[in-house]
């Protein structure tokens, strides 16, 4: 039985999404964009507008977000049906979608902040949805890392004050030519990095997998994390060349790190989360190399197949009694055939199998990247991460779907839930076809690629190599002397995301200890001592002294009056 709230919002969102898709088609054909300005505040020449910017990019993105979220709502009506307050969950998702809309629609920094803050907060609430310590900690890690981005955005707002307006799209290019916007855009970069979990801030994304799976599917794969990429796309005309290089280095490292980490991971959701991270790194590095439409193209397609991948994972986890460890799985392809088909299609699309949607974006990105004149380091890292993607995907496939069944013998695993299968089935059609459709839409003139044969074939080699390594690593009996235990430092370094979680978690010790010191030694120490207590002490002391005087002989009393008399006599003249 479907929940009523789910039904309403599922139909409403899918309707809206379809309409927005049509609008974006119209805007692509007519090459128009619409700007609506709401006047919020002004004081002399300082104006705050709420800007709604409707171009093909924002409407297309919105239609995708709405489509995925409608599917997720439909899916969670089954997945979350045992929840007591399922409508609370649905309303949270709707609030999330609304803040995403606000973020997408407005290229004004202040009104972006509205959506941006909303995204962080609602995702926080969604991560701590389950009431256990793991999700509590993960939620705070998520929220506070995102808060760094909010603060960076706030700071850049105040720095943008120098340029006279927060409608950055209208003058970004102009200022970039005339002067360096340095610090302002560095803050924007930090904000985007926190949302998209790039390297110094990437520990929150795998941790956020403590959220319910529909949330991971919507929030931590297709929408929230892409908000950072979207912000960078909107700002891409403003970045100077050096900033772009910094962005490139960080995003490449993220891509490589997460691809490597995914090969060590045994948690089903975390593997997918790390793969999201690596794809985000790929989008941002594509962006940093200057082709922002390719990055956007990949963003949309990635959103589709990653959302579906999470939904399939959720379905599998649901059947395995909330067990997420892939070592307990295996042989799922026999038990849940349809889900496995969906999962495989998504995974192959992630690897870039020809004519699935991921192929169109990834292949284009790789080949246009090869045509650039980059140095060897960037080239090698980029290609290696491509290979790693294939590697962990195949390792995951082998572990979950093809190897022996490892779960407890008393189980009831199967493709039972119609609602979940339906919602995944609707998405799978788009996962297959959206690549071609979007490539026709976004690139009316096909890109011209001209490469020597060896460079062209290199990616294919790497993919086959990745498949081979992936299949090999999934074998238990690869080596009876465990290599990972032999090289313990290296393997723990790689599997812990290069110690990033350690860095961000051990950071909280310092403010807390400083706060404790401040509390004990200032508020309850020095300030109390020199504030009230000192006053009390000196008053008691002096009143005692005067009491002593008045208890004394009359002569002394008179003498004091005489002294005071002389004092006033001389002072007053």
């Amino acid at each position: 039985m479907l929940n009523k709230t789910c039904k309403i919002y599922f139909s409403f969102f899918s309707f809206l999404s379809f309409n927005l898709f049509l609008i974006s088609l119209f805007l692509i054909i007519s090459e128009k964009s619409l700007i609506i300005e709401f006047y919020l505040l002004n004081l002399s020449n300082f104006t705050v507008n709420f800007l709604i910017f409707i171009d093909w990019m924002s409407t297309l993105f919105m239609s995708f977000v709405l489509f995925i979220s409608s599917m997720v709502i439909f899916y969670s009506s089954e997945y979350m049906k045992d929840e007591m307050y399922i409508s609370r969950f649905i309303y949270l998702i709707i609030l999330f979608v609304i803040s995403m809309m606000m973020m997408i629609l407005s290229p004004n920094l202040v009104s972006i902040l509205l959506g941006w803050d909303g995204l962080g907060l609602i995702s926080y609430i969604l991560v701590i949805y389950y009431q256990n310590f793991k999700s509590f900690n993960a939620g705070l890690l998520t929220a506070l890392t995102n808060r760094i981005g909010d603060v960076a955005l706030l700071m850049s707002i105040s720095l943008f004050l120098e340029y006279g307006s927060w409608n950055f799209s209208s003058f970004l290019e102009f200022y970039n030519l005339k002067e360096n916007m340095g610090l302002t855009l560095i803050f924007i970069m930090i904000a985007a990095f926190t949302k998209s979990a790039q390297i110094p801030f990437s520990s929150w994304l795998p941790a956020a997998m403590a959220a319910p799976t529909p949330v991971s599917s919507l929030v931590h794969s297709s929408t929230l994390v892409t908000a950072g990429v979207y912000l960078l796309i909107r700002f891409s005309t403003g970045f100077s060349e050096n900033t772009m290089k910094v962005i490139l280095i960080f995003s490449l490292l993220t891509m490589f790190m997460s691809g490597l980490g995914a090969n060590f991971e045994f948690d089903l959701k975390k593997i997918i989360a790390l793969s999201t991270l690596s794809q985000l790194g790929m989008m941002i590095s594509t962006l940093a190399l200057g082709s922002y439409d390719l990055a956007f193209f990949h963003l949309l397609i990635h959103a589709l197949f990653k959302a579906l991948l999470f939904m399939c994972a959720g379905s599998i986890i649901h059947n395995f009694n909330n067990c997420q460890d892939i070592r307990f799985m295996g042989g799922v392809s026999k038990l849940m055939p349809l889900t496995s088909v969906y999962f495989n299609i998504c995974n192959l699309s992630l690897c870039g199998l020809p004519f699935l949607s991921g192929f169109y974006s990834k292949d284009l990105i790789i080949e246009s990247f090869s045509m650039l004149n980059m140095n060897m380091y960037v080239y090698i890292i980029f290609y290696l991460s491509m290979g790693l993607t294939v590697c962990y995907s195949f390792r995951l496939l082998m572990y979950t779907f093809f190897m022996d069944f490892n779960f407890i013998s008393l189980n009831s695993i199967g493709d039972k839930s119609e609602v979940m299968l339906k919602s995944m089935g609707i998405l799978i059609s788009l996962v297959i076809f959206s690549g071609t459709i979007l490539s026709w839409l976004i690139f009316p003139i096909p890109m011209f690629i001209y490469l020597p044969f060896k460079m062209k074939i290199l990616i294919l080699w790497l993919i086959f190599f990745g498949i081979w390594i992936g299949c090999e690593t999934s074998k238990f009996g690869l080596s009876y002397e465990l290599l990972s235990l032999k090289n313990y430092n290296l393997s723990s370094f790689n599997s812990n995301m290069w110690n990033l979680p350690l860095i961000s978690l051990s950071m909280n010790l310092y403010p807390l200890s400083v706060g404790k010191k401040l509390y004990t030694s200032f508020d309850q120490g020095w300030l109390e001592y020199y504030g009230s207590q000192k006053l009390l002490e000196s008053f008691t002391y002096s009143s005692k002294f005067f009491q002593l005087l008045s208890k004394n002989h009359l002569k002394i009393y008179c003498l004091i009056s005489v002294v005071w008399f002389f004092f006033f006599f001389f002072v007053d003249t």
Binding site: L40, L41, N42, L43, S44, F46, Y85, R88, V110, L113, L114, D117, G118, L121, Y124, I125, I128, Q131, N132, F133, F136, G139, L140, A143, L144, R147, I148, D150, V151, A152, L154, M155, I157, S158, L159, L161, P511, L512, V514, G515, K516, L518, Y519, F522, D523, L527, E528, G531, S532, L535
Partner: protein, 443 residues
């Protein structure tokens, strides 16, 4: 103006008859006052030493609103028959004196009622507080303010001697004297409270009953801001020279206070420290003396008044049920009060300046004004803004999330009165932002 004064005076007999009627009439009074709103740069409704410009209007509005809500929040006193007649008289008297403070055009009348408003607050704390420590807390409240306010009286006499008038309109003394600056402003710094002289506030908050906490956080702190707005035009030259000292102290203080917030295990203490931290930002924005700082500090004062008062209400709602303010016992409240949990969330995020709340507008404007003042303030502002999110989320998630305390025996659900109380805090907090520019008119 007289009609409000007389209405408050003649409401006095009602104090001794009915709790609900008085509550009703206080709201009636607030709404009468709301309908008087007009956007004007200058003083309006002038009569016999009283008048309102937009600054005074919004502060009077805030104090009427908070006073009415105070009565609504403390129905427990009425139910327990805990001298509720005197309590209501106290609130009415407080309201009266706050009205006089904010609407008087004369500096001396301002000063007089500034002091008088301390007395009902003091009585609230020592009369209806909970622990024996309330006596010392009351003393802290009185003497921190008194110690700094007597120099202000001397300063006022000095102004009268040199300007021959104490009307705010004529305060145009431009005296470059540090001592004079301190004499006049120190009391406002104490009242705000600035870091280093804030000790009275957490103590008073912890010991005060809910009504006392609400009025302290909601209006009494804003008295300092209001006073600074009024007198700062005397210190335009002096302010340029030495305001940076106080800006630095209060900015660093607000970061320190937010670090201290993370250490608290008492909900009320946490909220109290968070209000010190926010008022530090208000103070520093105000002292920059630029347009945006003035605007932002008024907005943040209003926003913070509503928000922290609402947070205290929430703390009190769970205190009345669990008889504890400790974070270790107030846990997992979401499991049996899910609706209240939403309100906790809404107020906590308003406290960390999330959209759409007046706090966000205020903080954006204040950050802008401070960064215009000096780019170096960015470090402190960033830390402040980050840690304010830390403690707000800490407060929310620690109280609402997880396993509830097993010591809870019986429990009553939230009444309509309490929901009304929260709604009436939240609506002005989140809807005034849509016409936020009216707060810039008076500058």
């Amino acid at each position: 103006m007289m009609k409000f004064l007389f209405m408050m005076v003649f409401l006095t007999p009602l104090c001794f008859f009915s709790y609900w009627y008085l509550s009703l009439f206080l709201f009636y009074l607030s709404f009468l006052f709301i309908f008087m709103f007009n956007i004007s740069k200058d003083y309006s409704f002038l009569s016999y030493n009283f008048g309102l410009d937009l600054l005074s209007y919004s502060m009077v509005m805030l104090s009427f609103w908070i006073c009415s809500l105070m009565l609504l929040a403390s129905a427990k006193i009425f139910k327990k028959k805990d001298y509720y007649e005197l309590f209501m008289f106290n609130i009415l008297f407080l309201m009266f004196s706050l009205f006089m403070v904010f609407s008087s055009l004369n500096f001396f009348i301002f000063y007089l009622f500034f002091e008088i408003s301390l007395i009902p607050t003091f009585f609230l704390i020592i009369g209806w507080g909970y622990q024996p420590e309330r006596i010392s807390a009351g003393k802290y409240l009185l003497f921190y303010t008194l110690l700094a306010s007597l120099p202000m009286m001397v300063g006022i006499f000095f102004i009268f001697k040199s300007v021959n008038s104490l009307d705010f309109y004529f305060l145009s003394l431009n005296l470059d004297n540090f001592l004079f600056y301190l004499c006049i402003n120190m009391v406002f710094f104490v009242k705000m409270p600035m870091y280093l002289i804030h000790l009275w506030l957490p103590k008073a908050h912890v010991e005060a009953p809910i009504s006392g906490s609400m009025i302290l956080a909601g209006v009494m702190l804003k008295l300092g801001g209001y006073g600074l707005f009024r007198v700062m035009k005397m210190f335009l030259n002096m302010g340029l020279k030495i305001n940076f000292i106080f800006i630095t102290i209060s900015l660093i203080g607000s970061v320190y206070m937010s670090l201290i917030c993370l250490q608290q295990s008492d909900i009320k203490l946490l909220i109290a420290y968070s209000s010190v931290s926010h008022m530090g930002l208000v103070l520093s924005g105000l002292l920059t003396l630029n347009l945006m700082g003035m605007w932002g500090s008024l907005v943040l004062m209003l926003g913070h008044g509503l928000c922290s008062s609402g947070l205290f209400c929430l703390a009190n709602i769970s205190y009345e049920r669990l008889n504890s303010r400790s974070l270790y016992l107030n846990k997992g409240l979401m499991n049996f009060m899910p609706t209240l949990s939403m309100w906790w969330f809404l107020f906590c995020i308003s406290n960390m300046a999330a959209p759409p709340s007046l706090n966000l507008l205020g903080e954006v404007l204040l950050i802008n004004s401070l960064i215009i003042y000096s780019k170096l303030t960015m470090i402190m502002l960033a830390l402040f803004s980050f840690f304010s999110a830390c403690y707000s989320l800490f407060l929310y998630s620690y109280t609402q999330h997880g396993l509830f305390s097993s010591g809870i025996y019986s429990f009553t659900y939230i009444s309509n009165r309490e929901f009304l109380l929260l709604v009436l805090h939240w609506i002005p907090l989140n809807f005034l932002i849509f016409k936020g520019e009216i707060f810039s008119v008076w500058i």
